[in-house]
């Protein structure tokens, strides 16, 4: 992380009473994509849209569009590999794990919007 990305955290006077978080869905703001050392690669042509990856993904990082898999949210995907493990497509899985790249710009952390 470069110095310009570092921002001052709030002091105690700025915090909401009792440690309450005053909005929902804040987990979405917490980008965990950089926890990954291997990434899922989804093969649209092999995918049978069984949605097992979507069910099992602990980070809700499988993007659906109109009920079908549309991609992977690499901003939140931690690279656990469960999606690939659970993918039932044979002989070659529709999601394969590959080693992650070094540079942030190559990590693909811009994603398509999910409508799910």
């Amino acid at each position: 992380m470069s110095d310009k990305d570092k921002k001052r955290q709030e002091g105690w006077k700025q915090l909401p009473t009792g440690g309450t978080i005053l909005e929902g869905g804040t987990a979405k703001k917490y980008k965990t994509g950089d926890w990954r050392n291997s990434r899922p690669v989804w093969n649209k042509d092999k995918c049978i849209n069984c949605l097992r990856c979507w069910v099992y993904c602990p980070d809700s990082a499988i993007i659906l569009k109109e009920g079908k898999v549309a991609g992977i949210d690499l901003e939140h995907c931690k690279g656990c590999g469960i999606c690939s493990e659970e993918c039932p497509v044979k002989p070659e899985k529709a999601i394969k794990m590959v080693p992650e790249k070094q540079k942030t710009e190559d990590r693909g952390q811009k994603t398509e919007k999910s409508d799910s």
Binding site: W12, L15, G18, G19, I21, L22, G24
Partner: protein, 391 residues
């Protein structure tokens, strides 16, 4: 209609709870607070309150359920004593840190072992730094009045509050209590409007999230500040109470203190007994006084040290022992206040009444006798003394 009732301390607490008509009460009965829960559940069964009563399986659950109910946005109460209070321990801290305005009558009873059901202040004194506001009452009337005020204080400060009476001595003693009309009480406490109720699904929030090293300290600092701001609120609401109902309450009560040369500081029902001792000695021309601490948390350090500043000698009576502390809790607090405020009356600590050991007018007169000697010689021979324990 205001009426005078001959009722016990527990009945007074339960009656105030009925008039407060909380949304949720989750409680587990324990001696000597059993009757509060029992009488209140009867009100629920008879349809005299709108309360959802949750019969839980332990005090830990009682406090947990009360926390949940309060976080959900309801006016929530519970009641307990001694071991039950101790079982609530970890939840006490959660209630205060989540800034939930829970109101809890607590009947002071000793802690085991040895097992004992009688009055002392060990239970709530142990929780003096748990972030709860603590109001100790001398008698049933104070308990009734204070519980009604407590609702306002808690909801204004967003902090939990306990209102205590001495087990059996007050909880089971019948005295005359002036009670108010239901409507008067409701008008005084008003409607509770929670700022961020958990059940408001249109505005989702998270309560009780984890803090790492990055935010925990800030949240604690903000909780400390909330407690720092409590005293003016207590006084303001006491002022409104006096305007409406006539009786005057402060952070503490001064009895014959202003021109006194020696004085006793005490908490709870013994203050009443000490007043009788003061009256006797005043008739003999002795300049003795009394300071009864009502609000122990937050501790009115400046105000109390100012009130004690002109004394030659002061005895601080503790109904709990700081077993592994230098001195007992009230003494520790007051001596620290006096020192930091640069006030220097000779101070001496007396531990009394553990496990309900009775303390008589004569015992208190003897303390004043000791004080007279200290005032003359300027010497405190024994810093810590015990009243009524067999050698």
């Amino acid at each position: 209609m205001r009426q005078k009732l001959a009722i016990t301390g527990n009945e007074a607490m339960a009656y105030a709870m009925k008039q407060i008509n909380p949304d949720v009460v989750a409680a587990y009965p324990i001696t000597p607070a059993t009757e509060i829960v029992q009488i209140f559940s009867q009100y629920v069964a008879d349809g005299e309150v709108d309360t959802e009563f949750v019969a839980v399986e332990s005090e830990h659950s009682a406090m947990s359920a009360t926390i949940g109910a309060s976080a959900a946005g309801s006016r929530a109460m519970t009641a307990t004593s001694s071991q039950g209070f101790a079982l609530m321990w970890e939840m006490l801290y959660i209630a205060s840190a989540l800034r939930l305005p829970i109101v809890m009558p607590e009947v002071n009873r000793s802690l085991s072992a040895p097992i004992n059901i009688h009055a002392d202040h060990s239970d709530t004194m142990g929780a003096r730094d748990s972030g709860w506001i603590q109001i100790y009452c001398e008698n049933s009337q104070e308990a009734y009045d204070s519980l009604i005020q407590a609702v306002r204080i808690a909801e204004k400060c967003l902090l939990p509050i306990m209102v205590t009476i001495d087990g059996f001595i007050i909880s089971h003693a019948m005295e005359v209590v002036e009670t108010f009309d239901n409507k008067e009480v409701q008008d005084f406490i008003g409607k509770y409007k929670p700022a961020h109720p958990l059940l408001d699904v249109k505005n989702p929030i998270t309560i009780g999230a984890i803090d790492f090293t990055d935010y925990y300290f800030e949240h604690k600092r903000s909780q400390i500040e909330a407690m720092n701001n409590v005293m003016p609120v207590i006084l303001k609401i006491a002022g409104e109470f006096q305007k409406t109902f006539g009786r005057n309450y402060g952070l503490f009560e001064k009895y014959m203190l202003d021109d006194a040369e020696t004085a006793i500081v005490v908490i709870g029902s013994t203050a009443g007994t000490a007043k009788a001792a003061v009256n006797n000695l005043r008739k003999q021309g002795k300049k003795v006084g009394l300071l009864k601490v009502r609000v122990f948390r937050p501790f009115p350090a400046k105000e109390i040290s100012e009130a004690l500043s002109k004394l030659k000698a002061v005895a601080i009576l503790d109904r709990s022992a700081g077993i592994n502390a230098y001195t007992a809790p009230l003494f520790t607090e007051i001596s620290s206040a006096l020192y930091t405020q640069g006030k220097n009356p000779k101070a001496v600590n007396y531990i009394y009444g553990l496990g309900g050991r009775d303390i008589f007018v004569k015992d208190i007169e003897n303390v004043y006798k000791d004080l007279e000697k200290i005032a003359i010689t300027g010497k405190v021979e024994n810093l810590i003394n015990y009243i009524g324990v067999r050698e």
